[in-house]
Symmetry: C2
Subunit: 92 residues, 2 copies
């Protein structure tokens, strides 16, 4: 299981993930990581911005990292996929 | 016209934009901004990472900014769209 303060973005509606981020902040986390790969990267950006605009105006986007991950697509084959991590925090 | 050191990501193949970024560095720019909105954000991330991995290993991703932009979709209507700017530099 991923640690509590990580939200992985998949194919569900954007608001599901916004709710997950808000919930983690409300349960006491001071920092939440939003992670996504490939096409889900756009949704990760939406989630961070919607969380900040509509729910937690005091949250700041502390860091955005991008990297390339290798993903197996068969026995001996792999492809590269971009991944992103957005770290949001609520300053004390 | 946008300033020389900005590459706007649209719907062309990813490698077109990689070439644009590499060209701007090769023409003497020390810093290049990659900008995208909406679904093109994924491609912007790909462009930055491919530029770094395959062409300019000494380039660093100096900053990534995300924000929300209002886009008119009709006479009096608008919608919000996420945008991203990736700043790449080659340290001296």
């Amino acid at each position: 299981m991923p640690p509590d303060n990580v939200v992985f973005i998949g194919k569900k509606p954007t608001m599901n993930y916004v709710l997950a981020v808000v919930t983690q902040f409300n349960s006491g986390n001071q920092s939440v990581s939003i992670k996504a790969r490939g096409k889900a990267i756009v949704r990760a950006v939406d989630v961070a911005l919607i969380t900040q605009r509509r729910f937690l105006q005091n949250a700041v986007i502390e860091d955005i990292k991008i990297s390339t991950e290798e993903v197996a697509i068969g026995e001996d084959e792999h492809t590269n996929v971009s991944s992103m991590e957005i770290v949001m925090t609520i300053p004390e």
